[in-house]
């Protein structure tokens, strides 16, 4: 279980305008500013949950993950992970958690990943037979066999990320903090990592807290999302419910061939969102879906018709806009 109550983390940052004069001036007189990276955030995550942790750049997501994994001392507030206070970094906690950062590597750069794995086995004191079994399982799931003995520096980004995940999971942690685990990966690799995280969560009943700028990761993996902006929590709840509340209308996409329709005709069906050649996307309220779809398929002979929830990106954009307006007016 993960619990944060009134968590704050402030940083003192040296500020200086650009230019030579400012550089000289800063030698004698420095201006500091306190940045509230996390500002009174509270939430509880039960064991086995998969939760998406969302927010724009600089919202405080990574800082929160670093506090939860014990790398940073909170400025104030209480944090508990699997019954431990993270910043004390007790052995039992470190054995129970893992943190994967898409932009930081734990693999030894000039040695093959197998050497990092051997070191992690020794440091986490994983029994040999259990290690062999876990490594075999991870090797199969992530298709690592051709990568294990190549120096890390010669691996591609995607290959390295798969090896990072294996290194992070060899001790079979029960809480996974995943910070942008699919960053820079191609679509196929993103899907592979997503599938792997889901199967690890189900098999080991592990708790997963995931940040990602790829909303597909979040939609595919996380039934619940926590959203923060400017260090403050602005939403915590079911993903589908959020989408329904923020924008209950569906998106109906379709392709028309051999039929010409005017914008006025389309406006009778719903609000036109995008039009690319003969491919259209309409915003349609849920109660009108049967009649609109019937008309599209029957009268207009539409092809490749799909009914989807509005994209999460759109929902979040609206949310962040509302949160900023609220903050400004406050």
């Amino acid at each position: 279980m993960i619990r944060a109550r009134d968590l704050t983390k402030h940083f003192r940052v040296h500020k200086r305008p650009p230019g030579f004069a400012s550089a000289v001036k800063s030698l004698f007189h420095r201006k500091y500013e306190t940045v509230k990276a996390v500002d009174g955030v509270s939430f509880t995550i039960e064991s086995g949950e998969r939760v998406g942790f969302l927010g724009p750049n600089g919202a405080g997501k990574t800082t929160t993950l670093k506090v939860l994994s014990g790398l940073l001392h909170p400025t104030s507030g209480e944090v508990e992970v699997e019954g431990h206070v993270p910043f004390k970094r007790e052995t039992e906690l470190l054995e129970a958690i893992t943190l994967v950062m898409g932009q930081k590597s734990q693999l030894i750069w000039d040695l093959p990943p197998s050497e990092t794995y051997a070191m992690n086995r020794a440091v986490f004191d994983v029994p040999k037979d259990e290690y062999d079994k876990t490594l075999a399982e991870l090797t199969e799931l992530l298709d690592l066999a051709p990568l294990l003995d190549k120096p890390t520096r010669q691996l591609s980004l995607g290959e390295r990320m798969k090896c990072e995940l294996a290194a992070a999971l060899l001790h079979r942690p029960t809480t996974l903090f995943l910070d942008e685990p699919t960053i820079g990966l191609d679509v196929a690799m993103q899907v592979a990592i997503r599938d792997f995280v889901r199967s690890y969560n189900q098999k080991h009943e592990a708790t997963v807290l995931l940040t990602s700028h790829y909303m597909d990761d979040v939609v595919a993996l996380c039934p619940r999302i926590i959203v923060i902006d400017a260090g403050k929590l602005i939403h915590d709840g079911d993903l589908r419910q959020l989408i329904k509340t923020m924008d209950p209308d569906k998106r109906v996409s379709f392709t028309l061939t051999g039929v010409t329709v005017s914008d006025d005709d389309l406006a009778k069906l719903g609000t036109l969102v995008t039009r690319e050649g003969q491919r259209f996307s309409l915003k349609v309220s849920e109660d009108r879906i049967p009649s609109v779809v019937g008309h599209l398929l029957g009268t207009l002979k539409a092809a490749d018709l799909a009914i989807e929830d509005p994209p999460l990106e759109e929902i979040l954009r609206v949310m962040f806009g509302q949160s900023r307006t609220k903050a400004t007016s406050a």
Binding site: F11, T62, K66, S69, G70, L71, L72, H73, F87, R89, T91, L94, E95, I97, T98, L99, M101, G102, Q103, K104, S105, Q106, I108, D110, L111, E115, A118, M119, N120, R121, A122, V123, F124, D125, P151, D179
Partner: protein
């Protein structure tokens, strides 16, 4: 992490440390070459002593001193301050902190793993030179010969602790290069690296007796090259043990205080 677990992990840590040392072989060789300053000093002082002993040091005594110096420096030198400082500055220390092993142990193991390789490169050269021209100035006292190894171990520990402490200051000041330069200046003068401590002006020599630098380098050299009574040998080992404990406590204290300030930048 318990002591027994650490001991169980040690063979693997050493093996990986060896693999890392071998991977960085070119850089490693260059680094070793940078520790050959004693050979330069040997040339200088040999010419001073060419026409007769200088303050009791004959040409053979200088040869024995500086070649012992080269050996001790190579076996006990440490670069952990640079590593810690860089890992803190770039944020990669985060990954180390997520492992249930104190970074002191992890860094110590990787440094210990490098010792045999440094010996392989430097020791044969030093031993050949020592035997050919400075053997007469080396000790043959059984007591001194017996305590050279423990003295070297203690010198390694003090040096590692001091460098670990300097590196840990990066938690407070981010870059520790200036601190390292200051340290190296004091070390060069007060450890016997540039010249034997008994050739220093008496006031500076007095300071050198009390500060840790002598026990990081000069102590094992003195045991190798001087004729000491058992009381003097005992005092050297006592001072070394005291400084090993004191610097360990200080290093871990600075680390503990510093890690609270860690900002885990990036990523």
């Amino acid at each position: 992490m318990s002591a027994t677990r650490t001991l169980r992990a040690l063979p693997t840590l050493l093996r990986v440390g060896v693999a890392e040392t071998v991977a960085y072989r070119a850089e490693f060789l260059v680094w070793i070459l940078t520790t050959t300053l004693p050979l330069v000093m040997l040339g200088l002082w040999s010419s001073v002593a060419a026409e007769g002993a200088f303050k009791g040091y004959t040409s053979a005594a200088f040869t024995a001193y500086y070649l012992s110096n080269l050996i001790v420096r190579n076996l006990t030198g440490s670069w952990v301050a640079w590593q810690i400082s860089e890992e803190i500055r770039l944020g990669s220390m985060s990954m180390r902190l997520l492992r249930p092993l104190h970074p002191y142990i992890a860094f110590a193991a990787s440094h210990l793993a490098a010792v045999p390789f440094r010996s392989v490169v430097v020791l044969p050269v030093a031993i050949v030179l020592l035997v050919s021209s400075g053997a007469s100035a080396l000790t043959t006292e059984p007591l001194q010969l017996a305590v050279i190894l423990p003295s070297l171990v203690l010198a390694w520990v003090i040096t590692f602790n001091v460098m670990f402490m300097i590196g840990s200051f990066a938690f407070f000041v981010t870059k520790t290069m200036a601190l390292l330069n200051l340290y190296f200046g004091l070390f060069s003068l007060l450890s016997g690296y540039l010249l034997p401590i008994d050739l220093l002006p008496s006031a500076i020599g007095w300071f050198a007796e009390w500060l840790p630098f002598r026990y990081m380098l000069s102590a094992p050299i003195e045991l190798m090259t001087k004729s000491l009574d058992s009381g003097e040998v005992g005092m050297i080992l006592l001072w070394q043990t005291g400084w090993a404990i004191a610097t360990l406590v200080l290093a871990l204290l600075v680390w503990k205080r510093g890690v609270r300030k860690f900002e885990a930048v990036g990523g």
